[in-house]
């Protein structure tokens, strides 16, 4: 009954004209910046922070939160249409989403992404409202050793992302892990492999790497064979997913919501694993897994649901513990502090209107996003009709602006150019960039957690096995690996990896 009262309070706060308007503005801006490659929610929220000074804290946070999940939505659009993942969480969407677009099914891909995300968002909102508090206990179970084991499990997943040879996929994972070691050493502060370049002292940034290796490299390849693009332009197809496609997508959305929502709670940015995990599961249990990587709608529906559920549940550590799990949430902490609300476990009891108002606004925001995005699908798809000679310079310019805006740094733009060349060479040699990006994303966390766990255990590797949660995670990883490598099912594995 408490829950009902609290939700009633929340909707009372969120349903004022002012807050509805702020929520709408936030979602609208978020969608737009999400679509612009590179201009992520962090840069946007930072820019708009001063504007919120005049607002009351609840209204301000509702607007900023709207920007955040709006940007998650918008990011998928770019991933599907032009194969550019703006953030780690939309890398997976490029795999099948962009393939669908190439086949003239961009409308269906965008539609299912929007609907799947909406469903996941609704479930996640209820989830946060009902379970937010008890779930923080789960987060507390995760120390450095558990995170490390979780990342190991994630890496085993990564090999499934490959569309081609598993051997090449493994090489790319290792390349990603290596790239993640560039930067300042966690413990000693010594610079590693920075070649004396100051911009590398904090490591390689995700955005220049992802945009260079995916987006820019893709553009170079497209320029090689302009006819291929014209085929895409010729077929636009239906704008909405068909009933059969929706039916096909329902179970993946349900599974994606569950996995993404669960991983999103972890305060160490577990949300990045959500879409990867969802994709892995869909590909594993699919009757004909060879369709994946060639435009399987489940490969868009599941990860998109996982992405949005994770984005939403990432608010749990912030709202209930006061601990920001990622850069956007850290910025929300800043926004709260500027507005005189000190984040911590007491926000829930001290500022119930803010707490429940924000949760209610998440649901409203998700509904608004569907209203904003479904009509836009037609417009985005029409963008594909723009002649490529006009479109690719525009993409390049927007990407460069976006990358520059992240750190206000020209060097990041140069890095993107460099990674574009690397990406092009990799494409030519038949290497897939997705496993590398996963290796890169996990690598940083993995090294950090491995070293923390080993310092805490004073060097004993047994800590990973002795701690129950960590041990179970490692066992799952080993089982998955064995299943993948056992000779008796080798045939099936070949079917999975080598098509």
């Amino acid at each position: 009954m408490d829950l009902m009262n609290n939700l009633a309070l929340g909707f009372g706060v969120a349903f004022t004209v002012q807050n509805l308007f702020l929520c709408f503005i936030g979602c609208m801006i978020g969608t737009l910046v999400g679509v612009l490659p590179g201009v992520g929610p962090v840069a946007t929220i930072a820019m708009l922070l001063p504007i919120t000074f005049g607002l009351d804290p609840t209204g301000a946070l509702i607007m900023l939160a709207g920007i955040y999940y709006g940007a998650q939505y918008g990011g998928s659009t770019t991933a599907i249409l032009v194969n550019i993942p703006g953030e780690a969480t939309s890398v997976v969407t490029t795999l099948d989403g962009h393939q669908m677009a190439k086949q003239g099914r961009a409308g269906a891909a965008l539609g299912i992404a929007a609907l799947g995300s909406f469903f996941a968002g609704c479930v996640a909102t209820v989830f946060i409202a009902a379970m937010g508090k008890p779930l923080t206990k789960l987060a507390q179970l995760f120390g450095p050793a558990e995170y490390f084991s979780l990342m190991v499990m994630g890496l085993v997943f990564s090999t499934v992302l490959a569309r081609g040879s598993i051997f090449k996929a493994l090489l790319m994972v290792f390349l990603g892990l290596l790239l993640a070691t560039v930067g300042t050493d966690l413990e000693t502060g010594q610079e590693r492999m920075t070649l004396g370049i100051q911009q590398l002292s904090d490591g390689v940034d995700f955005a220049p790497l992802a945009m260079g290796i995916f987006g820019f490299a893709e553009i170079i390849r497209n320029l090689e064979s302009p006819e291929a693009r014209d085929v895409v332009r010729g077929k636009i197809g239906k704008l909405m997913p068909s009933w059969a496609e929706i039916k096909q997508s329902t179970p993946p959305v349900l599974r994606g919501t569950f996995i993404g929502g669960l991983l999103g709670i972890l305060p160490g940015n577990g949300a990045v694993l959500g879409p990867f995990a969802s994709y892995t599961i869909e590909k594993k249990i699919a009757k004909d897994s060879s369709r994946f990587g060639k435009g399987a709608i489940e490969g868009v529906a599941g990860p998109e649901a996982a992405n949005n559920a994770g984005a939403q549940t990432a608010f749990i550590p912030l709202l209930t513990l006061g601990i920001p799990p990622n850069a956007v949430m850290a910025l929300m902490v800043g926004a709260m502090t500027i507005h005189g609300i000190i984040p911590g476990p007491q926000v829930m009891t001290k500022n119930p209107d803010l707490f429940w108002g924000m949760i209610a606004s998440m649901w409203i925001g998700n509904a608004m996003l569907v209203i904003i995005n479904l009509p836009l699908v037609g417009m985005w798809v029409k963008l594909l009709k723009v002649p490529y000679r006009l479109m690719f310079p525009a993409i390049l310019i927007f990407c460069c602006i976006g990358i520059y805006s992240i750190n206000n740094s020209v060097e990041d733009v140069y890095f993107t150019g460099f990674f574009a060349l690397v990406g092009y060479v990799l494409i030519k040699l038949g290497f897939e960039p997705a496993p590398m990006l996963l290796g890169f994303v996990l690598g940083k966390l993995m090294e950090e957690k491995l070293r923390q766990a080993l310092i805490l255990s004073r060097g004993s590797f047994m800590t990973f096995v002795e701690r129950p949660v960590s041990g179970v995670l490692l066992a799952i990883a080993v089982i998955m690996l064995v299943v993948a490598l056992l000779p008796s099912i080798n045939k099936k594995r070949d079917a999975v990896f080598q098509e």
Binding site: A46, L141, F142, Q199, G344, V347, N407
Partner: protein, 323 residues
């Protein structure tokens, strides 16, 4: 020839006040060398708003994060000295950095035109919630006895939490095992679940957790108690002398910025600190505004020199020991 030189000299003299009279004629950029949302960023944004009103031009915050804040300060130090590029430096970038970064491209004491201290955030010593010690004295005894068996968390090499933690250990005379994190959030998370024993950090990062009882506060390292945590004793009250540290944040302009422009900025900064709205926001954070004698350009220059002298030997010794 003589005439020309004289004329040039007169022109220069005439031009200098003219510049200050009209300054500022366009928006001013203030570089914050950290990601948006952190304590320094918040303080910069709070003072930038009333400064914009006083100066009649917007003060825009530009976040240039990296390498413990030194990336942004390096860029700012090389900017045109016309008063249109400012930096929000802090204890790390202008106190600890020379010891931590051997290749530092600026000298905190000579490469800037200091404008003034904006606000300091006091440092607090906290332990996990079921820490065996119940006050600072017990904590010090515990830390000495445990030695390297104790786990001391910090938010990353070069962070405020790292430097202030090293100073605390050297004063107590203990050598704990350092557990490095990448930010206060993850460190606090592991402290709340009891994996690490203690850490030091800025009040704004900790006050929510202290009030909720998820971590145990031992003392605040300021001369006076904080209104945000009135029950928390100061280090001196609790019997620890010599550990008074504040993560001060201060506005700098590049070296060579005209003195009258700096004076104008100094006045605007001081007005911003006294602005009722900004003051309330700073108080809520637990931040401490500088007292009269600590304000302004000259006081900041002195502070920088004394801080570099204070941090360099302690940090150098600790860094050498960790290699």
């Amino acid at each position: 020839m003589k005439k020309i030189v004289l004329a040039a000299a007169f022109a220069a003299l005439a031009a200098a006040p003219a510049l200050a009279q009209t300054y500022p004629t366009k928006p001013i950029t203030m570089i914050v060398p950290f990601a948006a949302g952190g304590p320094t960023d918040i303080i910069a944004r709070i003072v930038a708003e009333p400064m914009s009103r006083t100066l009649g031009q917007t003060v825009i915050i530009e976040n240039v994060a990296g390498a413990g804040g030194t990336t942004g300060i390096t860029r700012g130090a090389g900017a045109a000295a016309d008063g249109y590029t400012l930096m929000m430096g802090h204890m790390g970038t202008h106190g600890a950095a020379p010891a931590l970064y051997p290749n530092l491209k600026y000298n905190p004491a000579t490469d800037f035109a200091p404008v003034g201290v904006a606000a300091g955030t006091p440092i607090i010593i906290v332990g996990k919630k079921d820490h065996p010690a119940n006050n600072l004295k017990e904590f010090i005894d515990w830390a000495k006895k445990q030695g390297d068996k104790s786990n001391h968390a910090h938010a990353g090499v070069g962070s405020v939490s790292h430097s202030t933690g090293i100073l605390l250990n050297s004063i107590i005379g203990t050598k704990p095992t350092f557990i490095p994190y990448t930010g206060t959030g993850p460190a606090l998370n592991d402290m709340m679940s009891g994996q690490v024993d203690y850490m030091t950090d800025q009040i704004v990062n900790l006050v929510g957790q202290i009030n909720a009882g998820t971590v145990k506060a031992f003392a605040i390292a300021t001369p006076a108690r904080s209104p945000a945590l009135p029950n928390l004793p100061t280090t001196r009250e609790a019997g620890l002398d010599g550990y008074e540290v504040s993560a001060w944040n201060a506005v700098f302009a590049p070296k060579g910025t005209p003195a009258d422009v700096v004076a104008k900025l100094e006045a605007a900064l001081n007005a911003a600190i006294d602005d009722a709205g900004a003051k309330k926001r700073l108080d809520d954070l637990g931040a401490v505004a500088p007292a009269g004698a600590e304000r302004g350009s000259a006081a900041l220059q002195k502070l920088v020199e004394s801080e570099v002298a204070r941090w360099t030997p302690v940090l150098k010794a600790a860094m050498a020991a960790s290699k």
